[in-house]
């Protein structure tokens, strides 16, 4: 028989305002096994914890019930308290009488009644609790960063700086991501390449960091501290360690009509290419879809001109297996497609462009060598209209836009407008906005400067329609503050397209068993208090894969994710969760139901010898749970038809005892 102590917390007025805590303590005194019952203002305070410790000693308690807030808040606190008093920490149960009771009830009688019932259920469970000891698992001291944009780069640099080896997997031929495509960065207007490329070089030169460029993660197994990852290194038909990046092959390649992804298709590249001058690794890649040699077996010019002998038309995809202790997701974002927004004529006119295309049009390495020329006729535009929130904050069009605010557009549009007016004072620049959202250090000042010093026309109202007419774009919009409809003959229209997570994020989340929201952004373990961790242990989030963010925020989050990874890799062993599944081998019928439902691959089947009652030996196939892999989700206990599978700490008997106590 257990000797149980019940401790009812007031939580100031959080609980005590709607629950008669004294009545709860009194009512639970007579429950089976309860030998002590008390209430206190703040049970989680040092004094409250001391109260528990003293009671354990004085009354020889074997089990503890704390009626307080959600176990998510203070279960760990009270388990430590129990351990300090010499009890097994798993002999503690929390009855949640705050979130699920006092906060949802308005009057004291019903709140008190429910609190007593919840307390009784916890007492019934503790009566059946047994001491549990967590297992330990080793930690592989190597991190994997998926995505080589500024988020992945910063995370990798910070982890490597702490002395741990890091691998970056990047699906494109070079790291750098979206930031490499930007021209200037707000609010200081530094050149993006000037601040990014030193970091890319740092990554390349860091002996702790390996870059798997033009590679994708194809399989992830294992668990925190012990991930087994298979990386597919796509064939680039160029030997990475031999290529010097001289660019002669790129120059000589006769196939030069391939739309250049780096400039968003606004100019062409050759079939063998280096994405941009500062690419890391600076190695050529052959586009297999475009190369005449690979398609038809004729040409081979690049191989002939390559003095290093780096071209290898027979190269195959390569699978690399590696173990990691932690995985950081840094898969980033993309602007959404503008094809479906017919009213803005994006598909009809070359002079309606997205903001990212505008970045390339103003960048010295872009298709116009940095001169702002409109794509259709390469003439200098005089009237430029920027449209904000295209596809953002859009509730009506799930198939077209996104319901959230994309966060970065207000600032980059202000930047574009300001820089255009600065460089080309002969232009008229209009920005149509719904709200200007510029929270951030020196952000609002920046936007005001665009208006006050650079004379950008900010107009409250949306553009309703863009119609190409002759060589002009007729823009019809409303000016809500003047209650007027405007008709502007524009030369160039720039759409601030909403951003969405990269398409590779969803399959990756499935491989990681990491959760995502409806927009395919990765969810955090806690939106405020654990913002860089996925709820899946050992998986961390960096950058825009978790939600829209600008560069300063991305870099801060990348550093935070790195520090979490370092905290994990610094440990030699991880303490597991003892509340894992275990199978009663005598009851197991070997049906494999549990193995099939287990999302973590923790269950395998083994052949085991059993002594039968008639003294013969039989070999039976039974389930075996790897406690280091099991996350204690309980799916197998439900799937098991013979009731052999049970969850330690949440055994069927314990749950039924709780239900009985509630229904009594």
């Amino acid at each position: 028989m257990q000797r149980i102590g019940v401790f009812v917390c007031w939580c100031g007025s959080n609980i005590a305002a709607t629950v008669d805590v004294k009545a709860v303590a009194e009512a639970l005194k007579s429950e089976p096994g309860v030998v002590y019952s008390a209430d206190y203002q703040y049970m989680c305070s040092q004094a409250g914890q001391d109260l528990i410790k003293e009671a354990v000693k004085e009354h020889n308690l074997t089990g503890i019930v704390v009626c307080s807030c959600s176990p998510r808040m203070h279960e760990a606190t009270f388990r430590k308290t129990a351990a300090a008093a010499g009890l097994n920490p798993y002999m503690v149960e929390i009855a949640n009488i705050r979130e699920q009771c006092s906060w949802v009830h308005k009057d004291i009688p019903s709140g008190t009644e429910k609190a007593i019932i919840l307390g009784k259920a916890a007492v019934a469970k503790v009566n059946l609790n047994t001491p549990l000891t967590p297992g330990e698992s080793p930690v592989t001291k190597r991190a994997l960063v998926i995505g080589g944009g500024i988020a992945g780069i910063q995370t990798a640099l910070d982890i490597a700086d702490a002395g741990f080896p890091v691998d970056i997997v990047e699906k494109n031929p070079t790291i750098g991501g979206k930031m490499a495509q930007l021209d200037k960065t707000f609010p200081t207007l530094d050149c993006a390449a000037c601040i990014l490329t030193p970091k890319m070089v740092d990554v390349a030169q860091n002996d702790k960091i390996r870059i798997f460029s033009y590679s994708e993660v194809s399989e992830i197994k294992g668990f925190v501290g012990n991930f087994d990852v298979t990386i597919r290194k796509k064939a680039r038909y160029v030997k990475e360690d031999v290529c010097t990046g001289c660019g002669l092959c790129v120059e000589k390649c006769p196939q030069k009509k391939i739309p250049n992804e780096f400039n968003l298709g606004m100019d062409n590249r050759s079939a063998i290419y280096i994405p941009f001058a500062q690419a890391v690794p600076k190695v050529a890649t052959i586009d297999a879809e475009a190369c005449t040699m690979l398609k038809k077996g004729k040409c081979g010019l690049c191989s002939k001109v390559c003095t290093a002998g780096a071209i290898d038309y027979k190269q195959q995809d390569e699978l690399i297996s590696e173990k990691y202790g932690a995985i950081v997701v840094a898969t980033g974002f993309n602007p959404i497609s503008m094809e479906k927004f017919d009213e803005y004529a994006y598909s009809q006119s070359k002079d309606v462009i997205t903001s990212l295309e505008f970045e390339r049009l103003t960048n010295a390495a872009g298709p116009t060598a940095g001169k702002l020329l409109r794509p259709s006729d390469l003439k200098h535009p005089h009237t430029i209209v920027f449209v904000q929130c295209v596809g953002s904050r859009c509730a009506s069009c799930a198939e077209k836009g996104k319901e959230y605010c994309s966060k970065i557009c207000c600032m980059y549009t202000a930047k574009h407008a300001m820089l255009t007016r600065d460089k080309y004072p002969d232009t008229d620049v209009y920005v149509f906005y719904i709200d200007v959202r510029t929270p951030g250090k020196n952000f609002d000042e920046f936007y005001r400067r665009a208006v006050e010093e650079y004379g950008v026309h900010y107009i409250k109202g949306m553009v309703g329609k863009v119609t190409p007419e002759g060589d002009k774009l007729k823009v019809r919009a409303s000016d809500l503050l003047n209650n007027k409809q405007l008709n502007i003959d524009a030369d160039l229209v720039v759409l601030a397209a909403a951003i969405e997570p990269d398409k590779s994020a969803r399959p990756l989340a499935t491989m990681l068993t990491a959760s995502m929201d409806t927009n395919d952004f990765f969810t955090e373990a806690h939106p405020k208090l654990r913002p860089v961790e996925s709820p899946t242990a050992g998986v961390f989030l960096s950058g825009a894969c978790q939600g829209p963010k600008d560069i300063p925020e991305t870099v801060s989050q990348a550093g935070a994710a790195a520090s979490k990874v370092i905290g994990l890799l610094a440990k030699d062993k991880l303490t597991g969760n003892p509340c894992v599944a275990s199978s009663d081998e005598l009851m197991c019928n070997g049906c494999s139901s549990c193995e099939r439902v287990c999302p973590y691959g923790a269950i395998s089947y083994i052949d085991k010898e059993f002594r039968m009652p008639d003294r013969t030996v039989a070999i039976r196939r039974v389930a075996s749970v790897n406690p280091a892999v099991c996350q204690g989700c309980g799916a197998c206990t439900v799937a098991c038809p013979s009731g052999a599978m049970d969850l330690r700490g949440f055994a069927s008997g314990q749950i039924m005892a709780e239900v009985d106590a509630i229904c009594k």
């Binding site: 904050r393 859009c394 149509f432 109202g461 949306m462 329609k465 209650n483 409809q485």
Partner: protein, 130 residues
């Protein structure tokens, strides 16, 4: 909002099925409206005026009959507010009003032209002359 305004508002919301609080004040409806210049109250104003119960001026306004019901505002509204349905509901309320004689026989001469089919006049009398 007084009681009368409240009742009018409820009536219009019920008839149109529109929820004006979904509006985020972007003005795309008015930005896209081809009849904008003909209107005294513009589509975005319809939404906010109905929301604040300011419906009497709308009932009196010629704007009601300037809306082409082209539904461009409905199609392009990012928040699914459907302003044209709201205009339609206010228009119906005006048309259905007892004793409001919108079309008198002596007005016919002024609106008559070769392009107007007689059928239209007949149905207009049926609808508007009460």
């Amino acid at each position: 909002m007084n009681n009368k305004e409240k009742l009018l508002k409820e009536e219009i919301l019920r008839m149109s099925g529109v929820n004006p609080v979904k509006c985020m004040r972007c003005g795309k409806c008015s930005g896209t409206c081809p009849a904008y210049d003909e209107m005294e109250y513009h589509p975005h104003q319809f939404v906010s005026m109905v929301e604040s119960g300011d419906i009497e001026p709308l009932l009196e306004s010629k704007s009601l009959y300037r809306c082409l019901t082209c539904f461009a505002c409905v199609d392009r509204c990012p928040r699914n507010v459907e302003p044209a349905k709201l205009v339609e509901a206010v228009r119906l309320l005006a048309v259905r009003k007892q004793g409001a004689n919108h079309l008198k026989p002596e007005d016919v001469a002024a609106v008559l032209d070769d392009d107007t089919p007689q059928q239209l006049l007949v149905s207009a009398f049926r609808k508007y002359a009460k």
